[in-house]
């Protein structure tokens, strides 16, 4: 099969499996059997059949926001090695485009939240916008540093770093830390945001979508599941021990194993720790920036790649 088809297939399947896998892990840790793995897909299908309810305060911004957000995340699929294979498109500095697509998705979600006029949703929007001022530089710093180490400035290429030399190993190690922080925060998971919380005051992502219902909520949940799946894929690409030109089946197999491992790790982590205080979150996110800075400084040890 051509890589394009495989990538699209991965993007269609992974979100449900990742979300379902995390939920299943959490259930097992709490001694329950938990919902079916594909429950989130069933939820989306059920939501799509419903008639939405719009707040009387809202405008077209609220109504179209979720679809714009979904389109932005869908557009970013093309740049990600979803199954560990080369992505559909790769060009130098595509990670900037990737970050901008996610930024657009976040922006319309924030606008949609503000459109409801609810103070709770405004609060979530403010938190999301504030955290993004750390997350975006952290992402570009980390991938930019990896690009400086590898000399490959594409998203997929920079993440396929070969940690053989000492400096590359340091850069690899700290960027795993940075990317983990970024992926978990962008995917609205613990310890920044708890998707299972029931108190609006302590939510970030969930509180912003309180008023969305029916198909719009389905679009938002699809987009956020896809975001998480893409993030996990990026992390797995960074962790993958296989180099650039391996046997395709082996690459995909290792990649899927790593994704599974990450999913279980996220579920375990979410079962064992509590959400951070919001006061602490910026400091926690700064870990990603500092890790990215260390990765960047590591490039000076080996000299500039020619």
């Amino acid at each position: 099969m051509s890589p394009v088809v495989l990538n699209l297939f991965g993007a269609a399947v992974m979100p449900w499996l990742v979300v379902g896998g995390i939920n299943r892990t959490r259930s097992l840790w709490t001694g329950r059997r938990g919902p079916p793995i594909l429950q989130s897909l069933y939820d989306v299908v059920r939501l799509l059949r419903k008639t939405p309810v719009y707040s009387t305060t809202t405008t077209a911004v609220f109504r179209l926001g979720p679809w714009v957000g979904l389109a932005a995340v869908l557009a970013s699929v093309g740049l990600v090695p979803v199954l560990g294979l080369p992505p559909m498109v790769a060009f130098p500095f595509d990670f900037v485009v990737f970050a901008a697509f996610w930024g657009l998705g976040r922006a319309v979600l924030i606008l949609g939240a503000l459109d409801t006029g609810s103070s709770f949703e405004g609060m979530g929007a403010a938190r999301e916008a504030t955290f993004s001022t750390i997350l975006e530089p952290a992402l570009l710093l980390t991938v930019g540093a990896l690009g400086a180490v590898t000399g490959d400035h594409t998203l997929a290429g920079a993440l396929r770093i070969d940690p053989t030399s000492a400096s590359a190993a340091v850069a690899w190690l700290v960027s795993v830390v940075a990317l983990t922080v970024i992926v978990l925060a962008e995917g609205a998971r613990l310890p920044v945001d708890d998707p299972a919380t029931h108190l609006e005051l302590t939510m970030v992502h969930e509180v912003m979508v309180l008023d969305h219902s029916g198909p719009e909520l389905a679009a938002i949940q699809t987009a956020s599941g896809l975001k998480l799946a893409l993030g996990v894929s990026l992390l797995a690409t960074l962790l993958s021990p296989l180099g650039r030109s391996e046997h395709e089946a082996a690459v995909v197999g290792v990649h899927l194993l790593l994704c599974g491992g990450i999913v279980v790790a996220i579920g375990t982590m979410e079962s064992l720790i509590a959400r951070l205080q919001f006061r602490i979150v910026p400091r926690y996110l700064m870990v990603a920036v500092i890790a990215g800075a260390i990765a960047l400084l590591a490039t000076t040890w080996q000299g500039a790649p020619q």
């Binding site: 799509l48 389109a71 932005a72 409801t116 609810s118 403010a126 001022t133 975006e136 570009l140 490039t299």
Partner: protein, 654 residues
């Protein structure tokens, strides 16, 4: 060149004709500017696209003697959008000032001054003689000042205007000092002849560079001399803010590039300095924009942010020239220049929409506005476009120019590993700027246009008229077109890059941007498909009040406010953004009477500058007080020694 002279003639004639009685003063201004813009664009296009160079010499009397004018791709690049955008601003002004003029204000001077602004562009962008250049420079400054103080009966407006006038003339002193120095070295007032002195590295060249940079930084409102800008822009009529911010102050960056051409190969420290000050401006502009309550002040701070981003590109170009890497020069110049155009298109749009908000509500205070999208749908939609564009989000224009700059910063074009580290770190700072800028703009739009009205006493008028909507709509078309066809725009920059010795590297830029253009178009298709589908899903939707999380009696006063939205960010950046708060809250468990909370973020940079100046004044006063009233022998002797020392130093220096 003759066509440009005719255009100038039309502008001057139009300026006088606005004073004709019994006619709307805008008609003549718009007509003359339309003709002048058409002539200029028609005349200048061959220069812009094919890199022709026009030189013309006008023999005049004392004190100018022979005046040389010179139009190359750099002049053309700035001329081609400056005049049409001023024309749009004048059309907008006709609508914006309609009420004042209907109430008996005499608008003729105002429209005549808008013509003068256009005229000053023709002078500044083609002058080859330093005195003529200064003339145009001063013409623009004075005209802008007079335009700012349209509401001169308001003391705050007069103060803001005076503040601008003083600031711009501090910059003028630096510029005059630099030009006098150059005249002293070369004995000529011709800009080209300065190049003989400027092309050779020397301490004199460094001094001139710093003076010029200070002057141009003041003109374009760079950190740390930006504080006049938000003040002036909050006081001026919307179209004046738009033109100053979007068009007039780009003259500072034009002059910077013009002198860059004379500089030959700049030294590396100059590049780092430009990059550092550009980055600092971008960071400070963005974080201050994120904390403002006044919509126009907020948009004004965003101008400092965006000229900073453009200057980052020019800093890259300086480094590229110092390192002899034409690819970096091409990326820096093309990225910076594209960002200038993008900023001009977007910033004018934002100020126009802010003006429309002001026209409809007589208020630009984000603490009182809310839910305007229902009453001002066209303005709101256009502002949403402008907000997304200036935030650098695809598929609109701001994204492309920022991408080009990222390509330069992350590309590893530095000549040492440390240089590359600095460039990548600057790239991360640019991402921070973009994220904070997005924060600021989403906050502004969300507070003013979304949600429900915050202040019931605020009367919201009808949507603004066609004369105001037309320029806004054209700007809206421009931001979409620039976003979807950036390769064509960048492709026309060949002659401009050739001036900087990077003609061969145009392909580096266009080939880097080509996939981005494709990506933006794919995104547009996806957006259109999904939004159409989504709209279909919602056709039978029911309506209900916003979910109040179990609290049934919420009011619109309980919405998240601007202060609460930026509270966490301000606390995170407390070192850059010291916050002043006035809080009066009851300490009782069941409070009686209303409480009061007011949070302000004053410009700490300006405060710090005045603090330092004040300390210097104190020192001066104390020293002066220490001088005895009747000069005694010791004092006289000391003065004599100092004079001899100064004379000796001067003698050694020369």
């Amino acid at each position: 060149m003759t066509l440009l002279l005719i255009a100038a003639g039309f502008l001057i004639a139009g300026a006088f004709l606005t004073f004709l009685p019994r006619r709307h003063p805008a008609v003549m201004a718009i007509a003359s500017q339309a003709i002048a813009s058409a002539l200029t664009v028609y005349a200048i296009l061959p220069v812009l696209l094919r890199g022709e160079v026009w030189d013309a010499t006008w023999v005049l009397g004392f004190p100018l003697d022979v005046v040389d004018t010179h139009a190359d791709a750099l002049s053309a690049f700035f001329l081609v959008w400056s005049l049409p955008l001023t024309l749009l601003g004048t059309i907008y002004a006709a609508g914006y000032l309609k009420l004042s003029i209907a109430h008996g204000r005499h608008g003729a001077q105002h429209f005549a001054l808008l013509n003068v602004v256009s005229l000053s562009f023709l002078i500044i962008y083609t002058a080859q003689n330093a005195l003529v250049f200064l003339l145009g420079w001063e013409l623009a400054a004075i005209a802008a000042w007079l335009l700012v103080i349209w509401e001169y009966r308001n003391q705050k407006v007069r103060f803001a205007g005076f503040n601008y006038l003083v600031s711009t003339h501090v910059g003028l002193f630096a510029l005059v000092a630099a030009l006098m120095f150059l005249h002293g070295q070369t004995g000529s007032m011709d800009l080209r002849s300065f190049s003989a002195f400027l092309a050779v590295p020397s301490s004199g060249r460094n001094i001139v560079f710093c003076l010029l940079a200070l002057s141009f930084a003041l003109k374009s409102a760079f950190f740390p001399v930006h504080s006049w800008l938000p003040r002036a822009h909050a006081a001026a009529p919307a179209h004046v803010s738009a033109l100053m911010s979007g068009v007039i102050h780009k003259a500072g960056l034009y002059a910077f590039l013009r002198f860059t051409l004379l500089l030959g190969v700049p030294e590396e420290w100059m590049g780092w300095a430009v990059l550092a000050f550009g980055t600092a401006s971008a960071v400070f502009g963005a974080v201050y924009a994120a904390s403002q309550h006044d919509l126009k002040r907020l948009i004004g701070y965003s101008s400092t942010e965006n000229v900073g981003i453009a200057a980052m590109g020019f800093g890259l170009a300086y480094l590229g020239m110092a390192w002899h890497t034409p690819a970096l020069v091409a990326i820096g110049i093309a990225g910076g220049a594209l960002h200038l155009v993008n900023h001009a298109a977007t910033k004018c749009l934002l100020f126009y929409t802010a003006g429309a908000v002001h026209t409809a509500t007589h208020c630009v205070d984000l603490r009182r506005l809310g839910g305007l999208l229902r009453s001002l749908p066209a303005t709101g939609a256009l502002m949403l476009g402008g907000v997304l564009a200036i935030s650098g989000l695809p598929p609109l224009n701001g994204f492309v120019s920022e991408f080009v700059l990222y390509a330069g910063l992350f590309g590893g074009g530095g000549h040492s590993a440390l240089a590359n580290v600095a460039l990548v770190a600057t790239g991360a700072l640019l991402a921070f700027v973009a994220a904070v800028g997005t924060f600021a703009m989403l906050r502004a739009f969300g507070l003013a246009f979304l949600g429900s009205p915050r202040d019931p006493s605020l009367h919201v008028g009808p949507e603004v008229g066609g004369t105001m909507l037309l320029p806004m709509a054209l700007h809206g078309v421009a931001i979409v077109a620039l976003g979807l066809m950036p390769v064509a725009v960048l492709g026309s920059m060949g002659p401009l890059l050739a001036l900087f010795g990077a003609a061969g590297s145009l392909g580096v830029v266009t080939s880097a941007v080509a996939p981005v253009q494709l990506g933006s178009r794919v995104l547009v298709v996806l957006l259109a498909t999904l939004c159409a589908g989504g709209w279909f899903f919602g056709r039978n939707a029911r309506r209900h009040v916003t979910w109040g999380c179990g609290y049934p009696s919420g009011t619109s006063r309980m919405q998240y406010t601007g202060s609460s939205f930026s509270e966490q960010l301000i606390r995170m950046l407390a070192t850059l953004l010291p916050q002043h708060s006035r809080i009066k809250l009851s300490k009782r468990i069941f409070p009686r009477g209303p409480g009061h909370v007011e949070l302000h973020v004053p410009d700490a940079v300006e405060g710090r500058i005045f603090e330092v100046l004040g300390r210097g004044e104190d020192l001066f006063v104390r020293t002066a007080a220490a001088v005895p009233e009747e000069p005694r022998f010791a004092f006289a002797a000391g003065l004599g020694v100092v004079l001899v020392l100064i004379a000796a130093l001067l003698a050694r220096a020369s």
